[in-house]
Amino acid sequence: MAVQIAAASRSGLRSALPLLAPAYLWLTVAIFLPLSAMVFFSFMTDLPRSGKPWAFTLENYAAFFSQSLYLTLLVASLRLGLEVTLWCIVIGYPAAYVLAKVLKGRSREAIFLLVILPFWSNGLVRIFSWAMVLREGGILDTALNAVLPFKINIDLMYSYPAVIIGLVHSYVPYMVLTCYLTLQAIDDSLIEAGRSLGASRLQVLKRVIIPLSMPGLVAGAVLIFVPVVGSFMEPRILGGRTGTFYGTVIEDQFVAVFNWPLGAALSFILLAVVLVILAVTSPVLRRAA
């Protein structure tokens, strides 16, 4: 029996191979081999094709651990990721709840689409659009001064809050999407049962709704945290000189300083952090999917 099944599954693979091979070969050449190559290069003194002699070394990783700058920046990026994720939960979760439990029918469908539509539009352009709002003499400045009786100068551009605002704007639709999917699946009768048994609204929220929607919350948090830790374009545009993070330093190694092996080591360390996060949260993620 077991032999038969094994034989059947082997023939299954043989029939499936022509269909699968092109796609997976492409992924191998363009994703998996490059990621492996990055690990390899991170242990080198120089690129083999650069013409200069090269050798294996641990120097690049030594640089990370001996110079506190890189570790500080990695911590700063992790903190940025955490802050953005928390803001996305605070802003996105109530919105997901209203979408899933208050709005009905066509208006729900339309508003849901409106909320997640920006997420699929150009991220670079959306970050740029905040420059119009946040800079001195920008819309926020002008509008507040028109309303307020006293003169204030709002110049958030090139500051840490600007980076946070831009990133939250970019990623909050993700949180709304994942939380909406799990909230929608909660049976209304569970909420009604809790209420009719004498629980207050807050108790129902704490004991029923939040625990049941936890997979969506975690999925959203991971899907936001991971790319934010690796962000470089957003801090560059909105953060200016204050916008130096781990991602921007990696970018510099490749486009400005041209120390590729160090860049590879820094990238790989970031990848390791990301993989740990994904591995720890994967059981919850699988349940959410």
Binding site: A6, A16, I111, G230, V274
Partner: protein, 262 residues
Amino acid sequence: MATTRILEWLGRVYILMLLAFLYLPIIIMALMSFNVSPFYQLPFEWTTEWYASLWQNNQLIAATRNSVEIAVITTIICTALGTAASLGLYRYDFRGKKFLQALLFPPIAIPWLITGTAMLIFFFGVGIGRGLHAILLGHVALALPYVIVVVSARLQTFAPELEEAARSLGANQWQVTNRVTLPWIMPGVIAGGLFAFAVSFDQFVVSYFLSTPGQTTLPVEIYAAIRKGFTPEINAVSTIIIVVSMALMLLTARFFKFGGEK
């Protein structure tokens, strides 16, 4: 009951505020592209000169052409390879299938900064180098998992008995696929294709690392322009991009509900 109604009303107001947060910057950016002042100064005076000057900007036009070409080729390759792979994963059982499905996750989940720099190193190392061909190679790999996921989701709604019925009525494998399976999953294939187009057309990070001065895409050009300083011309081209990408996604939503409604 009164409390419930007040809470529901507050909820609606909240959603409107969220929509304002999401759309106001984009709308302001678009408005500024029609403003006369090159320094974004108010009062607002209508002009289309920034759009007119886009037509004089050969660098931007060339980058736009590159972006569209790469997106179209990416779409064609991804729909073909992605649909085939989805069928392979759907039809056959074999050892390691779970693993192959899990392999689709890293390209989506790993930050593009890491993927992009890894591609740069590898392509340079093996002699593929940088340029439009490298960007295309990367875009297809980034978009493929999305296409496979979307088409596979559509395949879940397909009854395998239909293929068996067609086969028992004498259709060969090619006919079964062409006349039975493909027509059924077509909405998923179209949605997957549109996804692939959007992923490629909006892609910045990977293109940025793989581009060379003469061979860039539109987002890379825009990033370079933003870092030099803001001009209404950037607003104009950004407005065009955002309108195109939002229109694309609306179109996609017609073919594929984002798992939203039951």
